[in-house]
Symmetry: C2
Subunit: 700 residues, 2 copies
């Protein structure tokens, strides 16, 4: 384990330990001592002989031993020197608390680079700089200035904001939430989120990985690793700075529709990462994941002692797209035998306002046996006879007796239910301050279960003419031409198995007529010039041409008008092309995200994309299932299935197109953007046509 | 004030007072005594001489005085008798706590009706039955068994669930939230939600009206009254039973049927009612409304001592559609002079991790003067130097010094910020447990401000031929015919200023041809029979008929084929009709909600309504602004404005159509449903055509 010395050091040096209260160098030492750390602590400060009863050393060497872990709190300008000291004594694990590096600008960035260089040379690993420190409750290690050591538990937390970690610690300490590791990663100059997540994946004491991130260092690697890890342990992340991404210059349709946020959404979805909106929500989710089993399905039973909250929970369950469990005959008759006559035996089970703990216990015990129930939500309002504490004890008892289905509780109120909530927390039954939050949690867990149950991802590989594409791209890169012409874009697509409309470039009107007659009417005519990118803007596109006269007119008008509009354009002729008869227009596209790689896009064409922005995204490479899911994820998918007498289109053919495109952009990282617009699809068995295409490339 | 005797009684009789602890009759008496009620309390129980030191009376008459208020706790079967006793001593205000009425079925419903009859005869007003009671902190009146008397405040709460009220009480008592009145309305057999809301509107001690409702008794009246009241005081409601599952739970619980969700949404929106999803959210909103001024706009400044939470708040502000305030030059330079160099002076203002109370105070003081700022959100994370309590004091101080803009605070953490939160609450600065919740609250307040600022609702009245419609409807009602034929439906629409396609019914092929020639090709032909409602199902509709031969063919084919399909249909001929050339198809409609009246619908036609269900609703009568808003509220409104070279349609003409329809259904409550589908609209200046219409009527 690479981070063993961080998480379980036998000795810790605090370089920059201080005697002055409130100073970070003092607070960390105090945290270590008060946390009851059982290894050796070496305060290092050449101005002091002793701090808080511990012998203080003038420098690391003076200790005469190799501390497993060094915590650096000295001012930024002395940090480099301190790293050299660590190298001398062979301390390989270092946490740099000190701020004043990359986050303060150029000067700090230089300092940070120097430190990383030094540490790399010496084989030292660094957490930080500019962080709050590191906490491992099981080892009584509190090398932080964030607050007191929390209870031991199975949630580990990584935070890019130290202040947020301090707040979490305070919440955890007050609410009895236990943690395995808490790591403030600061500027993550060396060890970053992925290093830690990988480590936590191997850590037997960590059941749930949670974190707050503002950025991700290595997008592509993060995406693929996180996907592996999610199968093993749930990853719950807050990713902030979501909307602030801002507009991004992109020349393609796909690019302009995919904001910075889209890539994160795609990565999180593919990797099974559960995204959270607030610390509170994250802890709500995490405690359920840490303490309760995963449900086998999405049906929920509710037990309540009051109608109102039961109805509200039912609303929330339906709104979240969960299933309100239909109880079995057996459950209902068992409840009928043992509950008062006025009780509601159907979901939500109302054990009535005068219910003592025993009724809750019986109802829970019974409902857990119902095969139609996957999870149970228990609600309690403190009425005059209600026994919150005894009820909590009963719930904990049953949850231990029948531990195969998740049980969540919401006791409404405050002081009257305080004791009950405490008992639940200690008994590892998660408690929520409203049924809304509990239902949201069930939804998150259910989604995770669904994600885990996905079939194995198998990416189909098509036989393609890779060499041809290579040639076209290389030539463009040599000439530093970013945009590939329509004709060559189509050649690229054809090399990857796409069908494009037949056609030839005509240089005279008569040639155009003979081409048209060969292709058969109707035809499309497009001006052909490397200098004209937006053909329709100059009147360079005519569709639905039906006879020779129209061909001649269109040819001559283009030749007469376009040179007036764009006098410098080198006009090579007019493309006369087969016109796709009927069919539904869709868009296939790709936009390469700087950190996460190719983002595939599918969109409904025409008005749907213009008005509704009805598009969906997915990271490449795509499996067949994912490609199809992209279609299903659009709001107007039904149109593809056929509505109002309109025939269904060949959905599998579109999905195949997406997979071929996915293969193309995966094999050619030089491709930055692709739009196939329109991609015209017909009924089942017909071959879709890539009518127009744009590809742009860049050197990588 | 009709409820004066309920809210401020000089004497209270508790009929069914008990000496047995835990019994409701004891708990209420105890609540009254412990609340410190200063008027006279008369326990009534023929089995006791004295309870808790108070003289006990065998019956009401034995008191020898008229109690202002009677609380009835006797078993259901004795309640009618007790009402008679109240009548005898002239007690006009009665709260029936006792359960066992409508909510338990037929028998209970009978009892309830009897009681209401008796009380109406005697001029008695009743709250309940089946309720928790009534609490008025200012008058030290706690006539409930819900918990101890909360602090006095300006929020009043009405609850259809007693248990929920008990939970609210507990939350309020723990978190120091003050109330003006808390009323459990139970089965609301006499006094209902609207009676109380009207009363609270006149109540100078109530600033905010909040409530939990499962049903609304008198929809129409409620809608119009609530709209008036909302202008004066914000109304915050939880309406449960929203979804199908919730509605089912509602009917099995209270015996009251939950209304259609759409109607509630329309009513709440029109009446400016702020809908809440949970008690917690409702109290979050209510405390801001109660204690802070309304903002003048939707721009928010954030002050924080940590970057992470600042970014998360910025995300939330953008996601909620609020504006992240751009600070003025003046503000920025003032902040620059007084904050440390590393501080972020732009929104979010980061006063840094080592900020003491003074920096918060200065930043808040400064930012409140900025004309670009309408509301301020303050975030605090408990870091080592942070002073939550002193910071809270500083915030309260500034909020009192500059009380014109709302200030909301979120202190992350728990125990470390507990004291700070308490100071804020006492200082009437609302606190939120996450910035998300605070931002949601700002959004709710801003929406309310926007609603209040709506222009006055003026419903335009068109000159119409009311008499004609009256005749058609009356004839149908006489013949008990629910569905009005297409021809007469169109006559009705024409009487209200709609244009329908010209056409005549032809009985022979030649007649059809001559009609077609008069109208001009193309024409539409439709089979004409009172017995055929769905013409196209039997092949009875042909569009785009272009010449005499086609007219003859269509006529003869219909006459040959349709009698085979529907042998008993009385076929009167074939309607030959003008065909609307180009245009966009939309749908206008109305569906009359049982409790709230006519719900107008606008929808995009064709695939949009089939696939996307792209429709919007609004209660009639409609103003011009509301009619237009209905168009804007559809997702594909842009299509009407013109996209992709397609011309814009005459939006005002559609809005006028909706207003005319609104007038029709308002003037004729007999009309249950209308569909104008399609309503074909062209570019500006053209007249839309009601191509097809269906109207159904019922006796009212």
């Amino acid at each position: 384990m690479r981070l063993e010395k961080f998480f379980n050091p036998k000795s810790v040096a605090i370089i920059g330990a201080s005697r002055v209260k409130n100073k970070v160098g003092y607070e960390i030492l105090k945290s270590m001592i008060e946390g009851g750390y059982e290894g050796e602590i070496f305060p290092v400060n050449h101005k002091a002989e002793e701090i808080e009863g511990l012998k203080c050393y003038p420098n690391l060497e003076a200790i005469g031993k190799t501390p497993d872990l060094a915590i650096i709190v000295v001012p930024a300008k002395f940090v480099a020197e301190t790293i050299k000291d660590c190298a001398k004594v062979q301390t390989k694990a270092v946490v740099i608390i000190t701020a004043g590096f990359k986050e303060v600008g150029k000067e700090g960035e230089k300092l940070e680079k120097e430190i990383i260089k030094l540490s790399k040379q010496a084989g030292i690993n660094i957490i930080g700089p500019n962080c709050l420190g590191l906490i491992v409750p099981a080892n009584k290690l509190n090398a932080s200035f964030g607050g007191q050591l929390p209870a031991n538990g199975s949630i580990s937390y990584i935070s890019q904001s130290g202040a947020l970690l301090a707040a979490i610690l305070d919440m955890a300490n007050t609410n009895g939430i236990g943690f395995s590791k808490l790591i403030s990663i600061g500027n993550k100059a060396d060890i970053d989120e992925l290093d830690i997540i990988k480590e936590l994946n191997d850590d037997k004491d960590t059941k749930v990985i949670a974190g707050y991130l503002e950025s991700i260092n290595n997008g592509n690697e993060f995406a693929s690793q996180a996907e592996q890890i999610s199968h093993n342990k749930p990853i719950l992340l807050i990713k902030s700075g979501a909307t602030a991404a801002g507009a991004k210059a992109a020349s393609s349709h796909t690019g302009s529709l995919a904001g910075g946020e889209t890539a994160y959404e795609c990565v999180f979805e593919r990797a099974g990462i559960i995204r959270c909106n607030s610390i509170k929500q994250q802890l709500d989710f995490a405690t359920a994941f840490a303490n309760q089993p995963l449900p086998k399905g999405n049906s929920v039973a509710v037990i309540t002692n009051a109608g109102g909250p039961g109805i509200m929970a039912a609303d929330a369950i339906e709104q979240q797209g969960l299933v309100f469990a239909k109880l079995s005959e057996e459950t209902i008759s068992k409840l009928a035998e043992n509950l008062p006559k006025a009780a509601n035996l159907y979901n939500p089970i109302d054990v009535l306002g005068d219910a003592l703990a025993d009724r809750y216990e019986f109802a829970l015990d019974t409902v857990l046996d119902d095969p139609n129930v996957n999870a149970v939500l228990i609600l309690l309002t403190p009425q005059s006879m209600t026994e919150p504490a005894a009820t909590a004890k009963a719930i904990v008892k049953i949850s231990q007796k029948k531990p195969s289905k998740p049980i969540l509780v919401s006791m409404l109120g405050a002081q009257k239910v305080e004791e009950g909530i405490k008992i639940l927390t200690e008994g590892k039954v998660p408690h929520y301050d409203s049924s809304d939050n509990a239902v949201e949690t069930i939804k998150a867990i259910t989604n995770y279960v669904g994600w885990k149950a996905r079939p194995k991802r198998i990416v189909r590989l098509f036989a393609v003419n890779r060499r041809k594409v290579e040639n076209i791209i290389e030539r463009h890169l040599r000439h530093k031409t970013r945009e590939i012409s329509e004709a060559e874009s189509k050649e690229i697509l054809e090399a990857y198995g796409f069908v494009t409309p037949k056609g030839t470039i005509a240089t005279t009107a008569e040639q155009a007529v003979s081409t048209a007659e060969q292709l058969g009417y109707p035809v499309v005519m497009k001006i052909w010039s490397p200098d004209i990118l937006h053909k329709s803007d100059v009147g360079g596109v005519r569709v639905g041409i039906n006879n020779a006269r129209q061909v001649r007119d269109a040819f001559d008008l283009m030749m007469y008008r376009i040179p007036k509009k764009q006098p410098n354009a080198n006009i090579l002729g007019v493309l006369v092309q087969q016109m796709c008869k009927s069919g539904t227009e869709v868009i296939l596209g790709m936009n390469r995200d700087k950190s996460f790689g190719p983002l595939m896009m599918f969109g409904m064409g025409g008005i749907m994309v213009e008005v509704l922005k009805d598009v969906s995204f997915h990271l490449a490479p795509l499996t067949g299932r994912e490609a199809k899911q992209m279609l299903i994820n659009t709001r107007t998918y039904k149109i593809l299935q056929g509505v109002r007498g309109k025939e269904a289109v060949d959905i599998d053919a579109i999905a195949e197109g997406l997979q071929r495109l996915s293969q193309l952009v995966t094999e050619f990282p030089q491709i930055q953007e692709i739009d196939i617009n329109p991609y015209v699809v017909g009924r089942e068995g017909t071959i879709p046509i890539a009518v127009d295409a744009r590809i742009s490339v860049e050197k990588v």
